[in-house]
Amino acid sequence: MGAYLVRRILAFIPTLLISVTLIFVLTRLVPGNPVWALIGHQSVSEEKIAEVSRELGLDKPVIVQYLAWLPKALSGDFGNSIFFNRPVVQVITERFPVTLTLAGLAMLLTLAIAIPLGILAATRQNTFLDHAASVFSTLGVSLPTFWLGFLLIILFAVTLRWVPSSGYRPLSMGFDQWFPRLILPVIALAFSQIALLVRTTRSSMLEVLELEYVTAARAKGLSEGKVIFKHALRNAFISIMTVIGLTFALSLGGSVIIENVFAIPGLGQLITTAATRRDYPVIEGGMVYLTVISLVVNLLVDISYSLINPRVVYE
């Protein structure tokens, strides 16, 4: 097992390199000269384009660009944003907390609802509650997130006027400015994750509850609550943990859509607009940030999975 851990952590390095390289290759595939995006399409002389290209290092062969870019990227330096004309790291660090807040709150809501609901559904198998939970979890993974976001806006912001329909205010402007604007986006983002986690919690609880050690725990006279929370849930948490890790990465991705629906100035919105403006450095920087976080989460999940489940054989 120790050897496996070392190998898994070592494998993290090539995976990181490959994904960072993929990001570079894919952004350089973008057709159209980024210099145009920077200084406008019309009335630009060839010399001006050549000059700006030289400044940005875009006149060199791609492989030379890559070798110069890689060490910088890995140390977090992506140069200046073409559009904002400021260091990419600055632009990203302004927006990253917004996305993390959104994803973090969605995660908390998911845990608070999905795990109790999943346990209830498993312990009351084939009751009304169980069927309701299963209908909900099918809906959750089937409704388009952005459409759900609009339905929430129409119902709670336009019709009932309970909360503002969109926008974002930082916490520094006060809790009453910050929180109401996050309610709908967080619900929309958490919806599909709750659905996934309810399903996982229910099925792993059911699997564990059938095992002999649970019967033994009941037979020696433990209360049902103790059997479920102290004995069964602990074991069921193996697969629940895996899904929690994955849903966090998913919610980072889902925030792209949600930030667009609710006009929230986060990293997802930044990357989408950078993609339409061909602001290479920002696309690359934003992607690398999200990728590294996903990678670390993936690694932790992998390690915890192998630690907890000795039946999995690693060659």
């Binding site: 089937s142 388009p144 952005f146 699997e207 792209v256 993936n298």
Partner: protein, 300 residues
């Protein structure tokens, strides 16, 4: 499912048939299949169901509410939304269908070889890992920005996004099956690598594969709608469910029906496909039907 798990020297069809018969008895599967069939039917029969052209502009009749003439109203340019939703089904289903098809073919080929040959696995697994850690739509957004908006590019981008998942499923099946005794037995009687892979391993990997491909179709429809919504998917004026919703987003106060109905269609299609997938999984996947047998397989 035991039938498909017991290795037999029969051809693929024979191994699957009893399982298929059971599938047809599943209520979940039937409900999902009927939903999907109705959507496919309405897409195919679109010209019979509406007299309107989905891209015909009629600015005199813009933003009409729902009426007998325009069941789903009209959009900003006076286009009939009912017609756009029906014809949009063609595009959404076509894009989803093609990308699912290519994903399945590529995923099976890459997965089989990665599971079988260690050196291939070293490379493939790293790339699969790298592709899978990009969260959600972000890789799709990058690809679409790089490739430019076109229907074929959406298909290409989604194939790149989903193939790794199929590869993982197929590779997992190969790893699990290749240690079993019947592989040695086949080899002893002279079967080569390709024969072992395609005749003996692939048929036994069908169950998780078919389930994953069905969920992949649902995923493709959702993802296409998301990318089109962001303006990076199927380019206008062609209607796809996602960009009809994008057209309606500026009017959610004055004309909420514009975004309501295409969303209902996406949801119905995806729910239908998920039901089919769930039905198939319950019936085909031994992990859920009989945990004990699964563990036994791993030990073997």
């Amino acid at each position: 499912m035991s039938d498909a798990q017991i290795p037999r020297p029969s051809r693929n069809g024979r191994v699957l048939n009893p399982a298929l018969r059971r599938v047809l008895r599943s209520r979940l599967f039937i409900v999902g299949a009927v939903m999907l069939f109705l959507i496919v039917l309405s897409a195919a029969a679109a010209p019979l169901l509406t007299p309107f052209d989905p891209v015909a502009i009629d600015t005199k009749n813009s933003l009409q509410p729902m009426s007998l003439r325009h069941p789903f109203g009209t959009d900003e340019l006076g286009r009939d939304v009912f017609a756009r939703v029906l014809y949009g089904a063609r595009i959404s289903l076509r894009v989803g269908g093609f990308s699912t098809f290519f994903t399945a073919i590529l995923g099976v080929l890459i997965g089989l070889f990665a599971g079988w040959y260690r050196p291939v696995d070293m490379i493939v697994s790293r790339i699969v890992d790298a592709l899978m850690i990009f969260p959600g739509l972000i890789l799709g957004i990058m690809l679409m920005a790089a490739l430019g908006p076109a229907e074929s590019n959406v298909i290409l981008a989604m194939t790149i996004l989903y193939t790794p998942r199929i590869v993982r499923v197929v590779r997992g099946s190969v790893l699990e099956l290749k240690g079993l005794a019947y592989m040695d037995a086949s080899r002893v009687v002279g079967a080569g690598d390709l024969r072992l892979l395609f005749d003996h391993i692939l048929p036994n990997a069908y169950a998780p594969l078919i389930v994953q491909v069905t969920f992949g179709f649902a995923w493709a429809i959702l993802t296409e709608s998301g990318m089109s919504f962001l303006g990076l998917g199927t380019p206008p004026p062609a209607p796809s469910w996602g960009n009809i919703i994008a057209d309606g987003r500026d009017f959610i106060r004055s004309a909420p029906w514009l975004m309501f109905f295409p969303g209902v269609m996406i949801s119905l299609a995806v729910i239908g496909l998920n039901f089919i997938g769930d039905g198939l999984r319950d019936l085909l996947d031994p992990r859920l039907r009989n945990t004990a047998r699964r563990v036994g397989n791993q030990a073997g």
